[in-house]
């Protein structure tokens, strides 16, 4: 299971059987290029694997005023 924090809302979600960034973005309905996918101090591209127990931040990039 992975834990995902959506920013800027701060909403936390958990997912089972999601092992790549590509699958995670599909689950979230988020477009690549519209969000940063953050693990610790690094950014993850769509092909990167995600392991159970990891905390992933998905940060919206579009500013709205």
């Amino acid at each position: 299971m992975i834990t995902v924090v959506r920013e800027p809302e701060g909403r936390e979600q958990t997912f089972e059987h999601v092992h790549t960034v590509h699958k995670l973005l599909n689950k979230l309905g988020a477009r690549p290029g519209a969000v940063l996918v953050i693990r610790g101090a690094e950014l993850l591209t769509q092909d990167r694997r995600i392991e159970d127990g990891e905390l992933i931040i998905v940060r919206k990039v579009r500013s709205s005023g």
Binding site: R31, T45, G65
Partner: protein, 304 residues
């Protein structure tokens, strides 16, 4: 995915450039995009004193860091607007950012000048985003002129510029189309104005800000809900997903082939700048827009 330059694991994928980079190579790419914008549009020279408008968002803070890394003499300018739930956070972030990185900072506090945005919004029956933009531009100009800065730089990015171009195009607004671009020369007392990030989208700026460890404001302005530009950005994001590179092609194509036609059409009709009779700021029509807002506020003390 590997970095195109050094083959280390990539952290930033850029479909619009058909490439991907590790952090260090992305920083090089990012600075080169700014250098290209500066060179192509004669935005800056090494001797310039650059006043950088800092909202506290990712784009303006990234611009400040990048221009400093490129060796420019930069000073920050923050306009504090008195908007509950957003202005205090933005001011704190900008102040801490400049203190931590040793940047000089000027702050203009519009409530202290009788122009708190919530009060303006409550008393004028006009779209607040347009009025707020007018007030900010007025104080950008004033601060640059009074401080002796040769150029004012803003963090407008490719998404901002294409959304604005799209809005101007669907209205077929010749005056706005003639005036849109990444660089405006100094004229009639106004400082030169430049947008060095116009080749970089929100995603690239967000990546740069994150990888540089910048803390930036993410709280949206409470008055921006439903703003048309946000919808235009979403439309263009869909287009970019289907056709990577469409946004920069749209904008570069406009600059090369669209704008000259509108400039020629509008040049004869443009009015010369004159000093505002009340505040002295250069304007097409005296009194200037901000002095007219002040007059409206004075005339409508109880309007809702």
């Amino acid at each position: 995915m590997k970095c195109r330059r050094c083959k280390e694991p990539a952290q930033v994928a850029l479909p619009s450039h058909n490439t991907a980079f590790c952090p260090d190579c992305f920083f090089l790419f990012y600075l080169r995009q700014i250098e290209r914008a500066v060179k192509d549009h004669a935005m800056l020279v090494p001797e310039d004193r650059v006043l950088v408008a800092l909202s506290g968002g990712k784009d303006s803070l990234a611009l400040m860091v990048a221009l400093a890394e490129l060796g420019y003499d930069v000073t920050g300018l923050h306009i504090s607007l008195g908007i509950p739930g957003s202005s205090d956070e933005a001011r704190r972030i900008v102040t801490e950012f400049c203190a931590q990185r040793g940047f000089a900072l000027e702050i203009v506090d519009t409530p202290a000048l009788g122009l708190a945005i919530p009060e303006v919004k409550a008393r004028l029956r006009r779209p607040i985003c347009a009025v707020c933009g007018k007030i900010k531009r007025h104080y950008f100009n004033l601060a640059a002129i009074e401080g002796g800065y040769s150029v004012l730089a803003t963090g407008h990015n490719l998404d901002d510029e294409t959304a604005r171009l799209f809005a101007n195009t669907i209205r077929w607004d010749p005056d706005y189309l003639a005036g849109q671009g990444p660089s405006l020369p100094a004229a009639g007392g106004f400082p030169r104005k430049v947008k060095p990030l116009y080749r970089l989208g929100e995603y690239e700026n967000a990546c740069f800000a994150f990888l540089k460890g910048l803390t930036y404001a993410t709280t949206p302005c409470p008055y921006s809900q439903g703003a048309s530009f946000t919808g235009h950005k979403a439309l263009l994001e869909t287009l970019e997903l289907r056709s990577p590179g469409a946004k920069i092609a749209f904008y570069d194509g406009f600059l090369a082939r669209g704008r000259p036609a509108f400039e020629a059409r509008c040049a004869a009709a443009s009015r010369p700048l004159v000093p505002c009779a009340r505040c002295g700021a250069p304007t097409n029509e005296s009194p200037c827009g901000v002095c007219r807002i002040r007059a409206l506020l004075a005339e409508t003390p109880d309007a809702v």
